[in-house]
């Protein structure tokens, strides 16, 4: 049984100007000890998906529905608010993007950390303080004892994010939901925090659901990747297979529009034309068709489902929501100049 299993998650926001269809049928399976990446641009619904598991979306305006949302076999949709509260921060923890706004500026670091243990583990404040100092030490905080009496503004961004991680890990959660955990940090600090998350995972075996728009971070951290576009999963595969052989035109566009340290600096950057669609007024058919170089007539009317493919190299099962995935696979293969024949090539590729 998977640690976390979500089937057909739908989230919409009833707003004054219309209904925002933020998440439109997303399946997520998270196994023990793995890191699953969730990639997408702003407005693709990745953060909303995360918040929905935790029951953290304000209702109204949010309306959350799902066919199933199970954590260790418990149905999260049927739990009362107090039962949910016993899970949040205890068995499932979350770290957010901005460590400044997610810490309370009026309370000391120590007060905010000990609260977690007092609430979830019924510890005395004295015992909790000791455990918190140990936890700060685990995340590589210099002088942990002294930090407990400081306020968030006295710490740098990197140290604040360490406090957030220490807080998230206090109860040794089974799942860590990390929503853009390093986006607000400088690259040298980002490298420290990512190393730290990997070390802790190796020690405790927790699962990480890593939400980010940074494909470089995903490449180094995740074993599997889910790609979201306009509130849907458009592709899911193991990290290696996804980066080497994207089957969805959007994934392919994302991967080729990022300049890297080894791409040709004088070549013009590949761009995905146009803008992401308006979630209040989603286009008919595939939401990506207007920006897609592979689109055929069918894409304009019919919504493609996630379809199973077999990866030609790793033989793993992978999924892509595109009518043209087979042609895309052939196109990518031809471009790479290999002659692997496991993909049924019909038609060839359009750019």
């Amino acid at each position: 049984m998977a640690l976390l299993e979500v089937r057909n998650l739908r989230v919409r926001f009833e707003m004054y100007h219309g209904t925002v269809l933020a998440v439109n049928g997303v399946d997520i399976t998270l196994e023990e000890g793995e890191t699953l990446g969730l990639v997408g641009e702003s407005g693709s619904g990745k953060s909303v998906t995360n918040l929905a598991f935790m029951g953290l979306l304000p209702t109204p305006p949010a309306v959350v529905a799902a066919d199933a949302m199970h954590f260790e076999g418990r149905d999260l949709m049927r739990l009362s608010e107090s039962e949910l509260r016993a899970i949040r921060g205890n068995e499932i923890s979350m770290i957010f993007q901005d460590p400044m706004t997610s810490l309370n500026p009026l309370l000391t670091i120590g007060r905010q950390l000990t609260e977690v243990l007092e609430v979830h583990k019924g510890m005395t404040r004295r015992a909790a303080r000791k455990a918190c100092a140990a936890s700060l030490e685990d995340v590589g905080m210099p002088n942990p004892e002294a930090r407990l009496d400081q306020y968030p503004h006295e710490l740098s961004g990197g140290l604040r994010q360490r406090v957030m991680i220490a807080m998230a890990l206090l109860c040794q959660p089974k799942i860590l939901l990390a929503d853009e955990p390093t986006t607000a940090l400088d690259v040298t600090i980002q490298a420290q925090i990512l190393e730290l998350m990997k070390d802790i995972q190796a020690k405790t075996g927790m699962a990480i659901l890593l939400v980010t728009h940074d494909l470089g971070v995903i490449a180094g951290m995740a074993e599997r990747v889910n790609v979201m576009y306009a509130g849907r999963l458009v592709e899911t595969a193991s990290t290696g297979a996804l980066f080497a052989r994207p089957l969805h035109p959007y994934t392919r566009g994302l991967l080729s529009s990022v300049p890297t340290l080894d791409s040709d600096p004088d070549a013009e950057l590949y761009t995905i034309p146009g803008q992401p669609p308006d979630l209040v007024d989603l286009p008919a058919g595939c939401a990506f068709h207007a920006r897609c170089g592979f689109a055929v007539d069918r894409c304009r009317d019919e919504l493609p489902d996630l379809e199973r493919h077999t990866d030609p190299v790793t033989s793993e099962a992978r999924f892509s929501a595109c009518f043209e995935s087979k042609n895309l696979a052939a196109f990518v293969k031809n471009a790479a100049g290999t002659d692997d024949a496991t993909v049924d090539a019909t038609g060839g590729g359009r750019p």
Binding site: S156, V187, T188, L194, A219, G220, S257, T260, Y270, Q275
Partner: protein, 330 residues
């Protein structure tokens, strides 16, 4: 002669007060001796982590902050001593594009009025000419000229950044300072804006000072790159030299910290993870300001790094690249 020459620029900000009207309690040394040159039509990258002073350098160049000491010369003319009135013609020559396309456009002005405003301030053309110019500018940045009467909120982030670029182009500047112009944008939009900046540079012979923390983007757009750390420049080199053979330990650490979108490489490569944070510019370390975090400090004898600040100099063998480090280069 360089288009823009900055020599030993300092900008120190007063922090706190001793007593009600007293002297400042401390000085924050945001820019602490920066020298740079910019040629016509070139793109110079200015990289470094937050708080290293890269935006302050930009603001001093463009006259938004006055320099504490040092000189900024535009075509040989010293700018730091100009009066407000004398500044005006030079403002036309140097424009700026900001990071946040949501905060840098007035929400109550239409695009037409945003784009015509620089022309009105500099008393260029009649209102009708300015409107035509606004339409021309929108076309130049790839927006629909029919949207000239819309307000900023009707555009997406990437489109707003295009409006910001059009505004910077309005006065036909020689230099555009781009302060993190793509870091607030999504990846698919980021590539569009980078390509646009490159296209405009060719078309209007612009020189860019491109401030960014994303080194992969910098490598794509810049011909030369200066790396800053705590108010000083630690390395300047042509793009391929800097990325192919970084000579300063901080540059090496920065390059190594960037995650590559390539899972195989990410799993196998050796990475230099710097310990600790950037020190406070209120109380910079003695000697080389990078020495407390430097992984290669032990290779310099007699703890020289902690005692003596290295100068930004060329190699003994000559060449255009500069570096501020005590490490032996042979």
């Amino acid at each position: 002669m360089s288009l823009l020459a900055i020599t030993d620029l300092h900008k120190h900000f007063p922090v706190g007060k001793e007593g009600l009207f007293g002297r400042p309690a401390a000085w924050l040394r945001a820019v602490d001796g920066v020298s740079l040159e910019l040629e016509r039509g070139e793109t110079l990258g200015l990289v470094g982590e937050s708080g290293c002073g890269k935006s302050t350098v930009a603001r001093v160049i463009i006259g938004l902050h006055s320099a504490t000491s040092g000189s900024v010369r535009y075509e040989g003319v010293e700018l730091t001593t100009l009066t407000r009135r004398e500044w005006i013609p030079y403002r036309r020559k140097m424009q700026m594009i900001f990071q946040d396309p949501y905060a840098s456009l007035d929400p109550r002005q239409t695009v037409a009025s945003i784009l015509a405003e620089p022309l009105a301030i500099h008393k260029l053309g009649r209102p009708r000419d300015r409107r035509l110019r606004a339409i021309e500018l929108l076309e130049a940045v790839g927006l629909n000229p029919r949207h000239v009467h819309r307000y900023p909120h009707e555009f997406s982030g990437g489109q707003r950044q295009r409006i910001g670029i059009a505004r910077a182009l309005a006065l036909e500047p020689d230099i555009i300072i781009c302060d993190e112009p793509v870091s607030a944008l999504d990846v698919s939009i980021q590539a569009q804006i980078i390509n646009l900046l490159e296209e405009l540079q060719e078309r209007f012979q612009l020189a860019y000072i491109f401030i960014a923390h994303d080194l992969a983007v910098v490598r794509h757009i810049c011909q030369r790159v200066a790396v800053m750390y705590l108010g000083r420049i630690v390395e300047v080199a042509a793009r391929d030299e800097l990325f192919g053979d970084p000579r300063h330990p901080y540059t090496r650490a920065l390059l190594s910290a960037i995650p590559h979108p390539d899972p195989e490489l990410e799993r196998t490569r050796e990475r230099v993870v710097l310990a600790g944070d950037v020190p406070s510019p209120l109380d910079p370390p003695s000697g080389c300001s990078f020495h407390p975090r430097c992984p290669e400090r032990a290779e310099v004898p007699d703890d020289r790094c902690a005692r003596e600040a290295p100068a930004l100099v060329a190699r003994a063998t000559g060449g255009a690249r500069l570096r501020a480090c005590h490490l032996d280069e042979s």
